[in-house]
């Protein structure tokens, strides 16, 4: 191959790599901005019903109008406005939940994996029990006891959500405990805490990022399921998950009710995964200089 060809394909690879960073970053940034400035961006109030304007299709098909770009739902509420406002709930819930669960899971997983012994066994049995519990049931229970609210939803998803992190991180910590560079750290006199923070943790960031980004979708969907069961955020507040569920019985006629919030969920999940990949490459010293 000629030198020019290699250079060309290198340049293309570089452009592609940058696109996989900038596009998802832009999408997420737009959604975050939309969530913050929702009251200014949304053409209508997300909760205002207009029974005379029920089930208007989006503007690009017959019967639609530019007054409601993405159409309206069974109560005549504007879908676009609801998707914009829904970003607030879905994004903040998933961000909070992932922050809480990954922190708890990582701390417990590293302790269980590195220290092992009785502490490790106890922690892992607790994790097993948490994994065995049906999350939805606990969430409903919490909603009944505490009353449905934003805090309840975050708590309900987090309370068991740390367990998969703990499991995975423990496995990694267990593997790294035997690594020579950890032995090396002990040789120079590092304390167990220091080894866990400085030597184990940076080496488990990759799998951590992968499951954290993958769980964005899971959290949004769980939040949706909770809303559907009435254990979620109270119905007047629009959330993407609840909107998808709202439209499920009319999916063959008024598909736009479910489709647009569904697409929003898809965009967030996909952007999350791309960003996760990029971050993982960035954190890997072997790929850092490419």
């Amino acid at each position: 191959m000629s030198g020019k060809g290699i250079e060309g394909s290198l340049r293309r690879a570089k452009i592609f790599q940058q696109l996989t960073l900038y596009i998802p970053a832009a999408v997420l940034a737009l959604l975050v901005l939309a969530a913050i400035f929702a009251p200014f961006l949304a053409p209508y109030s997300p909760t205002k019903t207009a029974l005379g304007q029920r089930l208007i299709p989006p503007f690009f098909i017959e019967g639609g109008s530019t007054a409601h770009l993405l159409g309206t739902d069974t109560l005549g509420r504007d879908i676009l406005s609801r998707v914009i406002f829904g970003a607030r709930v879905s994004l903040s819930v998933s961000l909070l939940v992932i922050l809480i669960t990954s922190t708890i899971g990582t701390v417990l997983g590293i302790i269980a994996g590195y220290l092992g012994g009785r502490t490790g066994t106890v922690l892992m049995r607790v994790t097993d029990v948490s994994l065995a519990f049906p999350a939805i049931l606990i969430a409903i229970l919490l909603a009944v006891v505490l009353g449905p609210s934003f805090k309840t939803v975050v708590l309900a998803i987090s309370i068991l959500g740390w367990a998969p992190y703990a499991r995975l991180i423990r496995g990694e910590a267990l593997r790294l405990r035997e690594a020579d560079f950890v032995a090396q750290a002990r040789i120079i006199g590092s304390s167990p805490l220091r080894i866990m923070v400085r030597h184990i943790f940076p080496n488990i960031i990759n799998p951590l990022i992968v499951i954290a980004t993958l769980s964005v979708g899971l959290v949004i969907l769980t939040e949706a399921a909770l809303s559907y069961l009435g254990a979620g955020i109270p119905p007047t507040t629009p959330s993407w998950g609840a909107m998808v569920y709202d439209g499920r019985s009319l999916i063959d006629t008024a598909w736009w009710i479910s489709l647009f919030p569904g697409m929003a969920i898809g965009l967030v999940v996909l952007s999350g995964n791309f960003l996760g990949d990029w971050l993982r490459d960035k954190l890997d010293p072997r790929l850092r200089q490419l």
């Binding site: 040789i187 120079i188 010293p285």
Partner: protein, 322 residues
């Protein structure tokens, strides 16, 4: 004669396993002087590495435990130190070099960071003073262009260079004792020779005492001042290197020396010792080498021989000598 820096007396280290208690190190005694290299030679599984880890008190817990003996470093019995005191000793008083340079460095930090970590743990220095120490450690190990290399990640270096970095970490806080556990085994022959020459030089400059664990008599001959030959958890013979090669007294030592391939001999069959080392959970009653010994007598089967000092820093545990 320079001062004795490490004195190990009757060290007993055991492992609790499902098959029973394994006496991995069974009454090992030796000493090392300042600026001296003491070699521990033996087959795989004879307890060399466990002896090294015992000195640092880094046995895999809870399975491994030191159950007896004394490890006296510069007048202090290490076995009486608290965990915290022991941590302060590690790195600053004693250090260790592991076998495989490809895995003993943390892949996510630059080598400068990794040497600096050791320096910071034991000395309260400002950042630029730390960097000076790091560079001087890299210089000591003759790593070219240390100011540039300290920003490199381990994967950017060759095996030989990495092992020098491991050496630089070990020497960064000027320890009095260095335990080197087969540091040259993973290197190829030319690099091995360089590394040994390098360490002799490091020793000349720092007067560090070295316990050199190896199975390679060639390395022993080049590196060590005195040698202990280990078999099944015991040191069976200790002597100066010259004496050991010239006049080995224990049949195991002679057998080991005979099994080194030699180019200056006509017969091209390589000598090997018959049989296997005994199972560590089921040791023979008498001498441990008895089942494989070509000159064994009746007494060897019945009773374990004691250590006999035959003068000139040479001692042997064999019935033929006593």
């Amino acid at each position: 004669m320079s001062k004795i820096i490490l004195q190990v007396e009757g060290l007993h280290t055991v492992f609790f396993t499902r098959q029973g208690v394994v006496k991995a190190v069974d009454g090992v005694s030796f000493y090392v002087r300042e600026g001296e290299t003491f070699g521990i030679v033996g087959e795989s599984g004879c307890g060399k590495t466990v002896t090294g880890l015992s000195i640092l008190r880094l046995l895999p817990e809870p399975a491994g435990r030191i159950v007896g003996g004394k490890i006296i470093l510069d007048g202090k019995n290490l076995l009486e130190l608290s965990k915290k005191e022991m941590r302060e000793y590690r790195g600053s008083m004693i250090s260790m070099i592991l076998q495989d340079p490809m895995t003993s460095l943390n892949p996510v930090y630059t080598i400068g960071d990794q040497i600096a970590e050791s320096v910071r743990l034991h000395q309260n220095l400002k950042d630029d003073a730390v960097e000076k120490e790091v560079i001087s450690a890299l210089r000591l190990l003759k790593i070219p262009a240390p100011e540039m290399r300290l920003h490199d990640y381990p994967f950017q270096m060759s095996g030989g260079m990495r092992q020098r970095v491991v050496g630089a970490i070990a020497m960064s806080c000027h320890p009095r004792l260095l335990i080197a556990d087969e540091p040259t085994t993973a290197l190829d022959a030319t690099i091995q020779a360089q590394y040994i020459a390098l360490f002799k030089d490091v020793q000349r400059q720092t007067n560090v005492a070295i316990v050199f664990i190896t199975h390679d008599f060639g390395v022993v001959a080049q590196m060590c001042h005195r040698v202990g030959v280990m078999y099944a958890g015991k040191i069976v013979e200790t002597a100066t290197t010259r004496e050991l090669f010239k006049a080995p007294r224990h049949p195991y030592t002679s057998a080991l020396i005979n099994s080194v391939p030699r180019l200056d001999r006509k017969d091209n069959r390589l000598y090997s010792i018959e049989g296997q080392p005994p199972s560590m959970t089921d040791l023979p009653r008498g001498c441990r080498f008895f089942p494989r010994c070509s000159v064994a007598r009746d007494v060897c089967r019945e009773q374990e021989p004691g250590e006999v000092d035959i003068g000139g820093e040479h001692s042997v545990s064999c019935w033929r000598v006593s």
